[in-house]
């Protein structure tokens, strides 16, 4: 407890030093606002769009795409991994195409997604989905493959149905590996969501950034970047809490 407290103090101190340096560069060093807006100006820009409600609209849009992509990516990643481990024949068929898709840089494909799926929400979710799918899929395959064969004996002895076996034994057993993939995927999901908004559309934190930089509103750009950082932290915290709840049985991360 004491160690955690002192860690928090150190954390806060480091952030304060960073903030002080930022203030020093814009105040005494007199960096021009279009290069580096002061903390106060940035704060004002942030508060401004927060008051008008603009911020919440953009933040909500980005967050919604991330969550939709995360959920769909998780479901598809787990489902396909499960089907592949259950039917090894299918695995040999799907392996090649999946490796090609996996190695294709999704970020570079983003413009293509806009062409295929339009300027709307669809292209954004598809991009986030494609970034979440592979890490979750790879984690899930590892999880399903390392299942203790004795567990299979147990389900056979108890005469479990396919659904019972999946829900009660296979999925929970694979969860730790799935989470490893999900945490990697979540970071990518944020990048993907913002990037997709750069490409097209008129909403989202990514759009706010391109709008701000195109119109030389650097304080607004900073505000958007800071909001994105905060969103990333929020996602990380949410996943950590979820992991602790779901995987408390492993005895990991019990602080």
């Amino acid at each position: 407890m004491k160690r955690r407290l002192s860690a928090a103090v150190d954390y806060a101190l480091a952030l304060l030093v960073l903030l002080a340096a930022w203030w020093y560069a814009t105040g005494p060093m007199a960096m021009p606002t279009y290069l580096l807006p002061s903390p106060l100006r940035t704060w004002n820009a942030l508060a401004g769009i927060a008051m008008t409600g603009e911020l919440w609209m953009h933040l909500g849009f980005t967050l919604q795409n991330i969550i939709a992509g995360l959920i769909l990516g998780c479901i598809a990643g787990i489902a396909i991994a499960y089907v592949m481990t259950r039917f090894p024949k299918l695995a040999t068929w799907l392996d090649g195409p999946l490796v090609i898709l996996q190695t294709a840089p999704k970020i570079a494909l983003a413009p293509l997604f806009v062409v295929w799926f339009g300027f709307g929400i669809m292209a954004k979710i598809v991009l986030v989905f494609s970034l979440v799918f592979f890490p979750v899929f790879i984690g899930a395959v590892a999880g399903f493959r390392t299942l203790d064969p004795k567990m299979k004996d147990l389900s056979k002895l108890l005469g479990l149905s396919g659904l019972q076996r999946f829900r009660q034994i296979e999925l929970p057993a694979a969860m730790p590996e799935v989470f490893v993939g999900l945490k990697i995927g979540a970071v990518q999901a944020l990048v993907g969501a913002v990037l997709a908004e750069w490409m097209a559309g008129k909403v989202g934190l990514g759009y706010l950034m391109t709008f701000a930089s195109a119109t030389y509103k650097t304080p607004l750009l900073f505000a958007a970047v800071l909001t994105t950082v905060a969103l990333g932290l929020l996602l990380h915290v949410a996943l950590t809490i979820l992991e602790r709840r779901l995987l408390s049985w492993k005895g990991v991360a019990n602080g």
Partner: protein
């Protein structure tokens, strides 16, 4: 045991595997009839097919030939199985693990809780209902595994070296508790073990198996009074039987063990 009602009838059951270099005989034809409520120990070296025999009886594996008849009158899950490791679900509490066979066969929660709690008490794990498997010692986990195997009340309990992973003192205690459980539930028990002492101490009959190829060498009746305890281990009859079992295992394949 005075009862002679037939429970398991094994007739010329054998098992061969197909390996890279031809077929391997895991078990030569075995025939034996096991009575209801009987406690059978199966002793033998590694590779004698004793685990294979249990897996065939449980239906986990299919025999290459011969028949196994279980007189269990329509029980959905006729056998409870205790593995060498506890094989508990690590994300479920002890209570949930013991209740698992009931939960998955549609028994009401209240009924399942009652049965599971009774069994947890019987195996001496009261107070650990809410604990997770990792918080328990090896011996305690194995007790939980026994309780789970008994939870949907199968007439037959198959145990594959259930106590080989726990220390000797714990093992002695678990053996005594197993006898107590057997006497209070009247199950038919088949227990596979490496230990001739354990085999003789527990059973009504001991099946001796030898390896390469795995086969049933002989069956000994155990004429030791019930209930058994520390006094049994001083009984000359017990020592004679243990010595006989050792000899059975040594000859003819002297290098086997």
């Amino acid at each position: 045991m005075g009862q002679s009602e037939r429970m398991i009838d094994i007739a010329s059951v054998h098992k061969t595997f197909v390996a890279d270099h031809g077929t391997v005989t895991a078990l030569e034809p075995v025939s034996i009839t096991i009575r209801k409520g009987e406690f059978i120990s199966i002793v033998g070296p590694s590779g004698c097919g004793k685990s294979t025999l249990l897996r065939l009886i449980s239906g986990l594996d299919q025999a290459s030939g011969g028949t196994i008849t279980l007189d269990v009158a329509g029980a959905v899950r006729p056998v409870g199985f205790v593995f060498q490791e506890p094989v508990l679900l690590p994300w479920k509490t002890i209570l949930e693990n013991v209740r698992f066979p009931l939960d998955t066969s549609g028994v009401r929660r209240a009924q399942g809780d009652k049965t599971a709690l009774d069994l947890i008490k019987m195996v001496g794990l009261s107070g650990f209902e809410k604990a997770l498997p990792r918080q328990l010692s090896g011996g305690m986990r194995q007790r939980a595994a026994i309780a789970r195997a008994l939870s949907d009340d199968p007439p037959i309990l198959l145990m594959d070296e259930p106590f080989s992973a726990v220390d000797l003192l714990t093992r002695d205690n678990l053996n005594d508790e197993l006898l107590r459980i057997w006497q209070s539930t009247g199950k038919t028990i088949l227990l596979v073990t490496h230990s001739v002492e354990e085999a003789a101490y527990l059973a009504d009959r001991v099946m001796v198996m030898t390896a390469r190829p795995g086969k049933l060498k002989c069956v000994h009746d155990v004429d030791l009074a019930r209930p058994r305890g520390e006094d049994t281990k001083l009984d000359p009859t017990y020592h004679t039987l243990v010595a006989q079992l050792r000899r059975d295992l040594r000859t003819p394949a002297g290098e086997a063990h």
